[in-house]
C-alpha cells in the first residue's frame, strides 16, 4: 500500500493535484517531483487540494513552500485547498503558518476563482487576429 498518492486533473489550463494518504519525509520529494512535472508551460495555475490528506508534517509544509517558489519563478499561480477541519490545517496551525490569499476552503471555490479571473483577463486582451 502506497503511503501517499497524487491524482491529477486539468480544467482549462488549471491543473488540480489532489493529495491522498500521508505525506512525510519518505515521500515528499517524490510527490513534489510528480507535481512539478505536471506543470507544463501552457498551465496557468496549480490548485493543490489537500482536503483528503490524512497526515502532513513539516516535510509536507516544505513541499508546499518549494512548489510555491518554483511556480512563482515560472509565472504560474498556486492555490491551496485546505478545509479548516482537516489534518493538513491542524499541521499548518501548529507550525504557525497562517492562512493567506492563496488558501481556500473548497475545490469549487478555487475553480470558480480561476474561471472568473480568466474570463476577465480574456476580455482585456485584444484578439490577435484584429491587430
Amino acid at each position: 500500500m502506497k503511503l501517499g498518492d497524487v491524482q491529477f486533473s486539468e480544467h482549462e489550463h488549471v491543473v488540480v493535484a489532489r493529495l491522498t494518504g500521508e505525506i512525510d519525509l519518505s515521500n515528499a520529494d517524490g510527490i513534489e517531483g510528480a507535481i512539478a512535472e505536471a506543470m507544463l508551460n501552457h498551465v496557468l495555475a496549480l490548485i493543490l487540494d489537500v482536503s483528503a490528506l490524512g497526515y502532513l508534517d513539516s516535510a509536507g509544509i516544505h513541499l508546499i513552500y518549494r512548489l510555491r517558489e518554483k511556480l512563482r519563478a515560472r509565472g504560474q499561480t498556486l492555490r491551496l485547498v485546505i478545509p479548516p477541519d482537516s489534518p493538513a490545517n491542524d499541521a499548518l496551525r501548529l507550525a504557525g503558518v497562517s492562512r493567506n490569499v492563496e488558501t481556500v476552503d473548497t475545490l469549487d471555490a478555487a475553480l470558480a476563482e480561476f474561471s472568473t479571473e480568466r474570463r476577465m483577463a480574456e476580455a482585456e486582451v485584444p484578439d490577435p487576429g484584429n491587430v
Binding site: 491522498t20 500521508e22 519525509l25 508534517d57 516535510a59 516544505h62 501548529l94 507550525a95
Partner: protein
C-alpha cells in the same frame, strides 16, 4: 540471518557440530551407489521419483529408521519438508522450519553437520521428530555452487552414536544428490501438469504476510494429497494502517480451480485496495464471477481490522464461520453468511462489526480442515476451537490446527488457515529503529495505537503523533553516515501525562533557511514541555503532555 557466517557456531543444548570428514572413509560400493544419483538421466525421473530413490539408498546404506529432505524456500527463509522415509508426516503436514531455529534450521544457517545423541535433551523445533520416538539424529546441509538448497537428515529410533563413517556416507550422498535435486526441481516444474499447477498455486499465495505494527499474523496452506485445489488466503495492508484479511475456496479441483482461485484472489485484493468495505468488496467479486463465461462458484470471507481500536468489519459469502481465540477461551463467531460468490444474480452481502480486543486472535480456515465423513461440521469446528485455544502465538495456533486436525492418511481436500492477532499493547514503548524515512509511517501507527490505549482523544492523538513524528524525522535526518544508523523512541505514561524521548547519535540539526526549524515549532506547539539536550554523543528530545481527563 546467519547464512553468511558459516564459522560462527553458537553452542546449543544437546547438539554437537561435526567437522566434515574425508571421502576416503566411504566404502567403494556405496560411492558407486551414490554416483549413480548424479547421472543426468536420473534427474529426468522428476523430483518425486528422484528423491524417493535417493532416500531409499541413504536409508539402506546407513541402516537408519528415518530419512528426510527439507528444501530451502528462499522467499520465506524457511526449510520446507519435501520428502521423507519413516516420517512421511513431515511432508504431509507441510512442516516449515525457520532458518536458524531448531536442529535442521541450525544446519542450514551455519552450514554445518549436526549430531544429536538424545532428542529429548536437545533443541528440536519439529514436534514430529519427538512424536515418532526418534532418539538420535544426524543432519547435513545440501549446497550447490555455494547456494544452500536444503537439509538432509537421518534418524534412529534406538540410541546411536553417529560417527565419522556415517557422516562420510551422508556427505557423499549429499554431494551427489544436491545438483540432481536442483536439476530435477527445474525439470519437474516444467514438465508435470500437477507440478505446474502446484507451482501456480504456490506463487499465487502471498509469500510473506504483511507486517502491520500491532498485529501479528500467520497462515498455512496445504495441498491435497493427489490434486490441486482452489483454496487461498490473503493478508494485506490498507490505507490508514488497517489490515485486510481474506480467505476463499473455489468449488472444484484441478488446474481450472487453481487458476480461478488466482483470479478471485487478485480481484478481491484489487477491490479491497479501493477501500470498499468487506461487504461491497465481496459483492464486486461476486459480479466478477457472474461475468465469467463458464460456471464458477466460490465461498469467501473478508475482514478489515483497525489496529487502533480493534474494530473489525467482516462479511462472508457462504464461508465457514471464523473463530475468535482469546487466551484459553474462544468462540465461533456468528457471522450472517450471505450466498456464495457466483450463486445468484445481484447477490447482496451482509456486513457486521465485531471487536478484537488486544490479545485476541481472529481465525479463518477452509473446509478441508474440518470436513470429515460422518462428523457434523459444527462438531469438528468445535474440535478445531478446542485445539487452537490457548496457543501461545499465531504461528503455534496454525501449527496446532494442522498437526491435530489433518488426518494421518493425508488430505483429500486442500486446506488454508490464516490467523491475525491484535497484539497486546505495552505500557512502555522502547523501540530501536533504523534511521530510514520509511519507518515514519509505522511509527505513527504505533503511536496512534498506543495513545488511544492511554486514553488520548482524537485531537490529542493527532497532535502528539505529529510532534513525535517530527522528532523522529529530525533523528533520521541526523543520520548522515552511509552506514546503517539507528535511533531510539521511548514512551511512557504516568497519571495521565505521557512522555516521549527520541534519542540519536547526531547533533540537533541547526535550522537551514527560513523554512527549516518548523519541525521544532510544531513539537513545541503540540506538547506542554519540550527539552532538547544536545551533547557530543548525540541529541535527545524529551516531550511531555498532559492528556485531558
Amino acid at each position: 540471518m546467519t547464512l553468511e557466517n558459516p564459522h560462527h557456531h553458537v553452542p546449543r543444548a544437546g547438539q554437537t557440530v561435526l567437522t566434515p570428514v574425508e571421502p576416503a572413509l566411504v566404502p567403494a560400493h556405496q560411492i558407486e551407489a551414490f554416483a549413480r544419483l548424479s547421472d543426468p538421466a536420473l534427474s529426468e525421473l522428476g523430483l518425486e521419483e528422484f528423491l524417493d530413490e535417493l532416500l531409499l539408498r541413504v536409508q539402506e546404506a546407513l541402516a537408519v529408521d528415518t530419512v528426510a529432505i527439507l528444501l530451502h524456500d528462499v522467499d520465506t527463509h524457511q526449510l520446507v519438508a519435501r520428502a521423507a522415509k519413516g516420517i512421511e508426516e513431515e511432508v504431509e503436514r507441510g512442516v516449515r522450519i525457520p532458518i536458524g531455529q531448531g536442529f535442521a534450521g541450525r544446519i542450514a544457517a551455519e552450514r554445518v553437520a549436526v549430531f544429536v545423541a538424545d532428542v529429548d535433551h536437545a533443541d528440536i523445533l519439529n514436534p514430529i521428530l519427538r512424536e515418532k520416538g526418534i532418539h538420535s539424529l544426524l543432519g547435513i546441509p545440501l549446497i550447490v555452487e555455494g547456494q544452500l538448497i536444503g537439509v538432509l537428515h537421518v534418524g534412529s529410533l534406538v540410541p546411536r552414536m553417529f560417527g565419522t563413517r556415517d557422516l562420510a556416507v551422508l556427505q557423499a550422498a549429499a554431494a551427489r544428490a544436491a545438483p540432481g535435486i536442483e536439476r530435477a526441481r527445474l525439470f519437474s516444474e516444467l514438465e508435470h501438469e500437477h507440478q505446474v499447477a502446484m507451482v501456480l498455486q504456490r506463487s499465487l499465495l502471498p509469500k510473506r504476510l504483511s507486517d502491520v505494527i500491532g498485529v501479528t499474523s500467520a497462515a498455512r496452506y496445504l495441498p491435497a494429497a493427489d490434486e490441486v485445489g482452489g483454496d487461498w488466503y490473503d493478508v494485506f495492508e490498507l490505507a490508514r494502517g488497517r489490515l485486510g484479511v481474506a480467505i476463499g475456496d473455489v468449488v472444484g479441483h484441478g488446474v481450472r480451480a487453481a487458476a480461478l482461485m488466482g483470479q478471485l484472489r487478485t480481484a478481491l485484493h484489487a477491490y479491497a485496495l479501493q477501500d470498499h468495505g468487506p461487504a461491497r468488496t465481496l459483492e464486486l467479486v461476486d459480479r466478477y464471477v457472474q461475468s465469467m463465461p463458464d460456471y464458477a462458484m466460490a465461498t469467501a470471507a473478508y475482514a478489515v481490522l483497525e489496529p487502533d481500536t480493534g474494530e473489525v468489519q467482516i462479511a462472508s459469502a457462504g464461508h465457514l464461520p471464523p473463530l475468535i481465540v482469546s487466551g484459553a477461551g474462544g468462540r465461533v463467531v456468528d457471522v450472517t453468511p450471505s450466498a456464495p460468490l457466483g450463486a445468484f444474480s445481484y447477490g447482496r452481502v451482509h456486513e457486521q462489526e465485531l471487536l478484537l480486543a488486544p490479545g485476541e486472535t481472529l481465525v479463518f480456515y477452509t473446509d478441508g480442515l474440518v470436513e470429515r465423513p460422518g462428523t457434523p461440521l459444527t462438531e469438528s469446528i468445535d474440535e478445531l476451537l478446542a485445539v487452537v485455544r490457548g496457543a501461545g502465538s499465531v504461528d503455534e495456533l496454525c501449527r496446532r490446527a494442522v498437526d491435530e486436525m489433518v488426518p494421518l492418511e493425508g488430505l483429500r481436500d486442500d486446506v488454508a488457515i490464516v490467523a491475525i492477532q491484535n497484539s497486546a499493547i505495552d505500557d512502555h514503548l522502547d523501540l530501536h529503529l533504523p534511521a530510514d524515512p520509511k519507518i515514519l509511517a509505522e511509527i505513527r501507527l504505533v503511536l496512534r495505537r498506543w495513545l488511544r490505549h492511554q486514553g488520548a482523544n482524537d485531537s490529542e492523538t493527532m497532535e502528539i503523533t505529529l510532534a513525535v513524528s517530527e522528532a523522529c524525522t529530525n533523528a533520521i535526518e541526523h543520520a548522515y553516515s552511509p552506514a546503517p544508523a539507528e535511533f531510539i523512541l521511548r514512551a511512557s505514561a504516568d497519571e495521565g501525562r505521557v512522555t516521549f524521548v527520541v534519542s540519536d547519535a547526531g547533533r540537533w540539526r541547526a535550522p537551514r533557511g527560513h523554512d527549516r526549524g518548523r519541525g521544532l515549532t510544531i513539537i513545541r506547539a503540540a506538547m506542554d514541555d519540550v527539552e532538547v539536550n544536545s551533547a557530543e554523543t548525540g541529541t535527545e528530545i524529551v516531550m511531555h503532555r498532559k492528556l485531558a481527563p
